[in-house]
Symmetry: C2
Subunit: 321 residues, 2 copies
């Protein structure tokens, strides 16, 4: 199966970059004052995107890559997280309707934020999410844009990798949070496509260490929600998809797992030393830098800060230490 899956190419990523240019924030590389001198650190702050996360890149590319007729019938997805708002914003950018299936247990604030972007929100019991999407596709012909396991979504996230190498050609290592794996797959595709010598590592909580386990055993492992739910890093609790797994096994140098304490400390350090608000899942790669730096090759390191949508009360409690 692995051999026959067609992977996203560097050309797909450069096409995505052309498609989303001017529609997403061109985030800079931010230097840091808390580097290991042998591995100077830059941050790629994707939390500064309008929706507070990188997800807008993949959603915009997926909607933009559709032919006009498909797109005009409407877009559908299921998500209670950053992808919901990303897809709503992408659909609006192309003046088409987004339909977002959300669990009826979603916080009201997330439902309201998605509706504020002109999306239709359909609340269903959590177990019925996937089937409700299938029904909507069958009934109305909506185009389904999943949160990560889709080539156009992966290619869109990969544009971050192009920007990193353009801004810092001397990059030696890139550290990327991994949940569903779309971000890591895309960045690895871009970086390895241009510069096979640059190392790309996924970073995940020990408590949601599915990618590390999958690489260790050589096949995709997805842990039950009851297990991954224990990590504070909610945005990376989800497991790999089949397509992202194929990219990661082929193109990523390894996975670094981190403790919950390291994640909390990383949120603190990002806020106090680099003035960036990160959600716990968005700080996982920073946590890996802070605790496992000595395992990295020497040379410049780029840490992707993937999102900053954290409850103010949680952020306050993390800052208070």
């Amino acid at each position: 199966m692995a051999e026959t899956t067609s992977l996203v190419t560097l050309d797909d990523v450069t096409a995505a970059a052309a498609r989303i240019e001017g529609r997403v924030a061109r985030t800079p590389l931010v230097p840091t004052a808390w580097s290991d001198p042998a591995r100077p650190l830059w941050l790629k702050p994707e939390n500064l995107q309008l929706i507070g996360a990188f997800k807008i890149r993949g959603a915009l590319n997926a909607v933009g890559a559709m032919d006009e007729r498909t797109r005009s019938r409407g877009i559908v997805t299921h998500s209670s997280g950053n992808h919901a708002q990303a897809l709503a914003m992408a659909a609006r950018a192309y003046s088409v309707k987004a339909h977002v299936v959300m669990p009826d247990t979603s916080p009201a604030v997330k439902v309201a934020a998605t509706r504020a972007l002109d999306a239709e929100v359909i609340l269903v019991p959590p177990a019925e999410r996937a089937t409700r999407v299938e029904e909507l596709v069958a009934e109305h012909g909506y185009a389904f844009v999943p949160p990560f396991d889709h080539p156009d979504v992966i290619a869109g996230q990969g544009t971050i990798g192009l920007e990193i190498l353009a801004d810092l050609p001397e990059t030696a290592t890139v550290l990327v949070p991994v949940g569903g794996g779309g971000l890591l797959s895309g960045i690895a595709t871009a970086v390895k496509g241009l510069r096979p010598d640059v190392r790309v590592f996924g970073c995940e909580p020990e408590l949601a260490g599915e990618t590390a386990e999958s690489l260790r055993v050589g096949e995709r492992r997805v842990w039950p929600v009851e297990r991954t739910y224990r990590t504070i890093a909610d945005s990376v609790r989800v497991g790999l998809g089949e397509l992202t797994w194929q990219h990661i096994r082929a193109r990523v140098d390894g996975v670094l797992t981190v403790s919950e304490d390291a994640i909390r400390e990383a949120v603190r350090v990002l806020a106090t030393r680099s003035r960036l608000v990160a959600e716990p899942g968005g700080a996982v790669a920073a946590a890996a830098y802070l605790t496992r730096c000595a395992e990295l090759p020497e040379g410049p390191v780029v840490v992707v800060v993937s999102g900053g949508n954290v409850e103010p009360a949680l952020l306050a409690s993390l800052l208070a230490g």
Copy 2:
């Protein structure tokens, strides 16, 4: 007196930009999801500079503009704030020694941070700061770089104005925090020099409303420290200098004052809606946008977020509301 003072020119600012290029972070304009639709808002996040504040621009330009012989004798300043670290870093960039006179009441963490940048810290009773600098200049021939009232410092801060217009030529209004006035003087010089139609407003706490009062009465007013000390925005408690006052009266369209509640709310909004950590003084222009937007001309607005060096405990308490 006003008529005879020579003001910094647009050419001075463009020379500064060439001098500091590659030595400071080229901060982006960050779009926001909390704009008034008639006045869409972008942030200029100078809190993302390595020292967490814009001050590195002016310090680097001032040290860089010196002739080699002057510079090599060493640099001196007095500051307990962001300028101390900025000057230390600038001196290090030119491989010369910085001597920073700090009040012996300074928090140990600030002394340590300045020393960590290889500066010599000289602790004196607060009242003796200025005279100690004069002594050091007389004894050793050190070059004095004051925190704001100096043409090269003003020109360095003005590079922010060039970047704003380069990135968003359709800017209608720029809002800038004002304390000593170096940042506001520099940005007004750049913006008005290139585009006299773009409005530039200073923003300050009502409790340190010296610039507003100075413009109202037509002469520079400096309030006693006991009075300005009441604002939470510590980095803008200082009053205007004579040189910055001349720039501001000639080039700035007005000053917007804000309440303490507005400043606190702005810190919260920047953290939760734009994922940026700002110190209270760094959030003063955002506070003006949040509370006095209707007074601004229609069209795109840029708010300068000037710094993010806030105690974690204070930030936590502001987030908790």
